[in-house]
């Protein structure tokens, strides 16, 4: 009797232990991430916010990607000169034409539909048809019409008469270019909605390394590893993105081990995180910039160059870099980040630069005709601690040269509207970064006359000529001269106060490794692991 009881107890104990170990193993291979906001859409065409782009990057297959480093590492930078195939297995460049070989043997896990060149063709046609983000990306690759896209066979697409440039291939890794299940998406199209925009905003139709498992809007989004993915199975078979709007709560959850990664913590919170047991803070030199944009349009508050230069000399750079940003940044040296590949390649360190010198600032202010000081308004992104703190430091320093700066926090929507219309004196935005590390990309986005995000209204014909002369040049050394000229001129004209080049920071549990920093700063889940 006793023996029978003992045997039963032993069997039960083994069973319970087995269940516990399975559960623990499952937990071991589940990654929990605390994010600040929810995914806004499932449609790669319309990704805007950080969480949405993070989701799109990991759940859809872009044509190509930067090569992921092999081996075991805690964190590393992606090599932006080396590409590998994603939905496109290989490619061949013939003059201005590019032949793309679509990867064979893949399916879309939610429907089982096989991936063919038809899906690539239709995804590209939809991108151009919606005239949204990916249309702009493909336009800069040189594809503006479906007449330039030829379906050669079931597995081959040819892009005709593209525009070769240094950014052509880097653009094809953009998170907005994810491959769509054409059969599934087009089945939801209607006469009023030929691209099934409404259906796509709430439904997933991709085949990335991870696929959607469940989405509880406003609460969490769960991904599972794609069982039909073409490459090796990732370490984590389940990813939970938990929406925690308050940053202090994200930090608290990381400290207690409830999540493995906490995004978007303030500099002060990162310092606190460093002291928490079991938590480490990665701080990788990056290209994201903290800037003050000045309205330099004719009639704008900063039309006068000397006024802009005066402010540039009155910036308390050390207070912002070492104090506000807690040394997780470097002093900016102009429009190109000191951590850009081109900063050393083009030896931009020898350019003239600004440093804190209040006497010089006062002299320039006098020369600008504002010896008695002047007043202006700085609009800042609301609710971003390091922006508000940097603004307070600027205000204090500017007051010492007689400049009265009023700080007005505004919502992202208002900021976007005012930037677009040029109805502001100055604005401060944080961590603006170019998704492609390239001077041409930077200038044709920011500094060309009337270009997409030339929010300051800067215009200089020489600068336009210099950067446009490199549009079709791929060789870095040939572009060196024009860009050095353009950057020197831009620093002299100072349409922005370039304050700091921030590190990419991420607070994670200490066993998390495999973190690769890409120029778009979107975390790639596939190489992550527990070390």
């Amino acid at each position: 009797m006793l023996k029978s009881l003992l045997i039963r107890f032993a069997v039960m104990a083994v069973g319970v232990l087995s269940l516990l170990s399975v559960a623990q193993a499952d937990g071991h291979r589940t990654l929990r991430i605390a994010v600040a906001d929810d995914v806004a859409t499932m449609d790669p065409t319309f990704g805007q916010s950080g969480a949405t782009n993070l989701f799109l990057k990991n759940t859809y297959l872009q044509p190509i990607q930067y090569a992921i480093p092999a081996g075991s590492y805690e964190s590393t930078n992606a090599d932006t000169t080396d590409f590998e195939g994603n939905s496109v297995a290989s490619w061949e460049v013939n003059g201005n034409n590019i032949v793309l070989s679509i990867r064979q043997g893949m399916t879309f896990p939610t429907t089982g539909n096989p991936v063919t060149a038809d899906d690539f063709w239709w995804t590209l046609e939809r991108a151009l048809g919606t005239k949204a983000g990916p249309a702009w990306v493909w336009g800069n690759v040189g594809i503006t019409s479906m007449d330039q896209v030829k379906r050669v066979d079931d597995w081959t697409i040819e892009l005709i008469d593209t525009r070769p440039s240094a950014i052509q291939f880097p653009l094809m890794r953009d998170q907005t270019l994810g491959l769509l299940d054409s059969k599934e998406v087009s089945s939801h199209a209607t006469d009023d909605d030929p691209w099934a925009l409404e259906w796509m905003s709430r439904n997933y139709a991709g085949n990335g390394a991870y696929v959607l498992d469940t989405w509880e809007p406003g609460t969490r989004i769960v991904l599972k590893a794609n069982p039909n993915f073409f490459a090796d199975e990732p370490f984590f078979n389940r990813i939970e993105m938990i929406v925690i709007p308050e940053s202090s709560n994200r930090l608290a959850m990381l400290s207690t081990g409830d999540v493995d990664i906490a995004f978007a913590l303030s500099a002060a919170e990162l310092s606190r995180a460093e002291k928490a047991r079991g938590v480490k803070v990665l701080s990788i030199p990056d290209r994201q910039k903290l800037n003050v944009g000045l309205n330099v349009r004719p009639g704008g508050a900063f039309e006068k160059v000397k006024l802009r230069q005066a402010l540039a000399y009155a910036v308390p750079y050390d207070d912002i870099v070492f104090g506000v940003l807690k040394d997780r940044a470097a002093k900016s040296a102009g429009p190109m980040s000191v951590n850009s590949r081109f900063f050393s390649l083009y030896n931009l360190a020898d350019m003239p630069n600004y440093y804190t010198d209040l006497d010089k600032a006062k002299e320039l202010l006098q020369e600008a005709g504002h010896g008695d000081g002047f007043a202006f308004e700085l609009i800042t992104a609301k609710g971003v601690p390091h922006v508000e703190q940097a603004a307070a430091n600027l205000k204090s320093s500017f007051a010492k040269i007689g400049v009265d700066m009023t700080i007005t926090p505004v919502s992202q929507a208002t900021m976007g509207e005012k930037n677009g219309q040029g109805t502001y004196d100055a604005f401060m935005r944080d961590w603006l970064t170019d998704y492609v590390d390239d001077p041409y990309y930077h200038f044709f986005l920011w500094w060309g006359t009337g270009v997409v995000i030339n929010w300051t209204g800067y215009s200089n014909t020489e600068v336009d000529e210099w950067y446009q002369s490199t549009a079709s040049i791929v060789d870095d050394s040939e572009r060196r001269g024009p860009y050095r000229n353009a950057i020197r001129q831009l620093i002299k004209d100072s349409p922005m106060l370039w304050l700091a080049d921030g590190d990419y920071t991420l607070a994670v549990r200490e066993d998390i490794g495999g973190i690769t920093l890409h120029p778009d700063t979107l975390l790639y889940f596939r190489p992550l692991n527990r070390m």
Partner: protein
Amino acid sequence: MMSRLSSIRWGRSGERSWASIVRQLRRPPVLVLVFMLLIAIFGPLFAPYDPLEPQPMNTLAAPSWAHWFGTDDYGFDIFSRVIYAARIDFSLALLGVLIGGGIGSLLGAFAAYRGGFIDWVLLRFVEIVQSFPVLLFALALFAAIGGGSRNMVLAIAIVNIPMYLRIIRSTLLPLRTAEFIDAARCAGLSGPGIVIKHFIPNAKGQIFSLFVLTCAYAIQIIAGLSFIGLGVEPPHPEWGSMINSGAGYIMLGVWWPSIFPGLAIVLSVYAVNGLSREQMTGQLRGSI
């Protein structure tokens, strides 16, 4: 008639001696209010640091001899900012309530004097405005006119007008048929003259009680709006915005950026509310 009403409302004239002042100061709300007002007026003389001069290398420092209330995430000295904020909060509240109270009292007295259609229109206006919670109404006003100190005063004034209008009207309504008002009218005094010379003086007690009470509300509204990022321009010190900027750190054990400005609000509202309650109780006793 006029002298009888006056004696009911202001039956304690002649007590303003030093002894009376000392006796008043023994009452805790009065003592605290005087203390807070002294801080608002003379505080900057004692503030050890410039409230707008951040020390970015010394953020979130715990309370110490160098920084009695510690420093916040900007590196601002919290003690200095709590002192400066008293001036900002009190002056905004006083100004807003003075404007709103003044307009509301005049309109209330005018409605009581005239009656009829004007009285009906003003009462409907009051009912519409008061159908919204005060803070929600202030928020809606901010959405319409924008943030900033000037608009904060405007919002406080606007939310106070209906309160004064309704109460002063009902207080003065019996005067409309009073004999001395008829006499004043027969003597050739104009309507506005009667309102200012005879109606308003008979509501002084009510106006003072309301003034004290609405100041307490105003301080809470200012702190509430600043807490959610409206109101006083950053980085100027204001108790509500100081609580907000420190709130995120409480879970990390950094309590001082929020607790001290919070205590300042509690003390101010306690003092002003207490005074108002005592004043009302006194009036009630007087009228019985």
